[in-house]
Symmetry: C2
Subunit: 316 residues, 2 copies
């Protein structure tokens, strides 16, 4: 793995992968292949990066590596369940536990993976780490329940959307930063600054992800319906366009209008302005710790998100 996002943290990420691989032994022999499978095709390891960046200035200590692994395992557990719920057969080009072992085993395995993350969190003497991780996990799942209940809800408010993306995505980003800064022994002002960075970055990241869902296929082929619209999930561009034109935006998208046609350039500009504002808030949150090494690692994430957003934005 030589992602530019990992530059300068190569020993941390190497230690992380070793640590994650070692976790297999904590599971029953029958379960170990499932552990190997979810670890074999790593994603971007964004949450460990947040932990490492927030705890920067110390080496890859066992506490820091374990902290990064804990948040990644919680994330992986939610992915295992997401893949069951979406009936997804592949992720990162590899078969999902849902596909290989069936929904039954995959739900239970996701539970076991999540429980194992909490076992690791409980290895810290203080219960603070357990509290951070368990609270974030509860919020992630609650946020997803709320989103599930909101499907096809035409009157979903902007405030509901913002609450949902904060819970389902941003609180785990925030927790990753908090865990990293905490186990690295930083003072509260550093922990809080990193946590605020993570929260704003998580919101921005989910907004970006929602924009991609609407724009990606559009950019390539033209008219493929985004998965969000197909499943009745109203995201920011849809909400803003609905309020602007007082239309059934889900119906328009489902009837085959592309996201560039159905959602006005003015709405898209507003969406990207709101995304920019969150990215800027994330960056600004680090002002309080400008003298620490954390901004050097963390700001590359906002930089990459700025770049990706600029590439995605419809030129209008």
């Amino acid at each position: 793995m030589t992602s530019p996002l990992h530059l300068g943290l190569e020993p941390h990420f190497a230690a992380l992968e070793s640590f994650l691989a070692e976790q297999e032994a904590s599971f029953e022999p029958e379960v170990r292949p499932m552990v190997r499978e979810v670890l074999a095709h790593p994603g971007k390891r964004l949450r460990p990066l947040l932990a490492f960046g927030s705890g920067a200035g110390i080496g890859p200590s066992i506490d820091l590596v374990r902290g990064a692994a804990i948040v990644e395992l919680v994330h992986l557990a939610t992915l295992v369940h997401d893949d069951v719920l979406d009936g997804a057969d592949t992720r990162h080009g590899a078969d999902t536990p849902n596909h290989t072992h069936g929904a039954h085993a995959a739900v239970l395995f996701g539970d076991a993976l999540f429980a194992h993350a909490l076992v690791l969190a409980s290895e810290h003497t203080s219960s603070t780490l357990c509290s951070i991780v368990a609270r974030a996990s509860r919020d992630v799942c609650s946020g997803e329940v709320c989103q599930t209940f909101s499907r096809d809800n035409q009157s979903l408010s902007l405030a509901d959307y913002q609450r949902q993306i904060r819970m389902k995505t941003a609180v785990l980003f925030e927790a990753a930063c908090r865990v990293g800064a905490l186990v690295a022994g930083y003072p509260q002002v550093h922990i809080d600054a990193c946590a605020a960075f993570g929260l704003h970055l998580g919101i921005a990241y989910q907004m970006y992800d929602d924009f991609v869902d609407l724009l990606q296929d559009d950019a390539k082929a033209g008219k493929t319906l985004g998965t969000d619209a197909a499943s009745g999930k109203l995201t920011l561009p849809m909400l803003l366009e609905r309020d602007r034109r007082k239309v059934d935006i889900l119906a328009e998208l489902r009837q085959g209008r592309s996201a560039r046609e159905a959602i006005s350039a003015e709405t898209w500009r507003e969406c990207f302005r709101m995304l920019d504002a969150e990215v800027a808030s994330a960056e600004q949150a680090l002002a309080a710790i400008e003298g620490s090494p954390s901004p050097f690692y963390l700001l590359r994430l906002t930089g990459f998100l700025r770049q990706a957003a600029a590439k995605l934005a419809p030129s209008a």
Copy 2:
């Protein structure tokens, strides 16, 4: 609730129900109805009873009530997921979250419920409680994964069966006892005695439950196929009979032979002997703390199990 199992612990159980009801407020408004639903139709509250019995001698302190609630919430979370996996529409005569809200919301709600149990565990200053609860939860789910993989496995060994029932049931009984004794401030000898009681009781309870699955409908109507045999789950009576007669016992049961016909009286006697031995081991584990109030409360559980087993045993 006036179960004879709860005698002398009425204030504890009243405090437990209040505490559980208060947890609703920790969830998002959309999720609260689901919390109410799983709490509205209480089961036997066996795990809280284990916690209260193990911590007996102190009143219903907040620590003890919280400890009992934590293990019950973990249990309820596993039931929510079990009902999704079994496609079950009712439990204790009430609709399941799976039925009312769909599998998607029910999986995520189970996750949130489990995470909330860990949030409560993290309210203890020491991370010991988190560790006990998270380890037990991991084992429960891992045990269920193993059992899922064992379906229709004709060569399942007795050792595998014993490992699976220990993990999927007995470790949470053990954890309930450990938590109760720990938060009540008892010394290690007391904690370990109660934990051993819980482990043996849990094994005995799961064996009994497996016997019921084979014998209950048989006793009433004659030939209804037990759900375990239908789903390819080999339990103790089937394993012993398979080894005795070298037959495909699952096939025999599925072809309509009743459990009294397919499984010999000799095998049934051996099964109930093994159940008795576990019950006796549970009782014996309390010898180390005979002078404490815990046996008074805990032994009623083995007493009831002895009675239920005696009623169930085929008279041969």
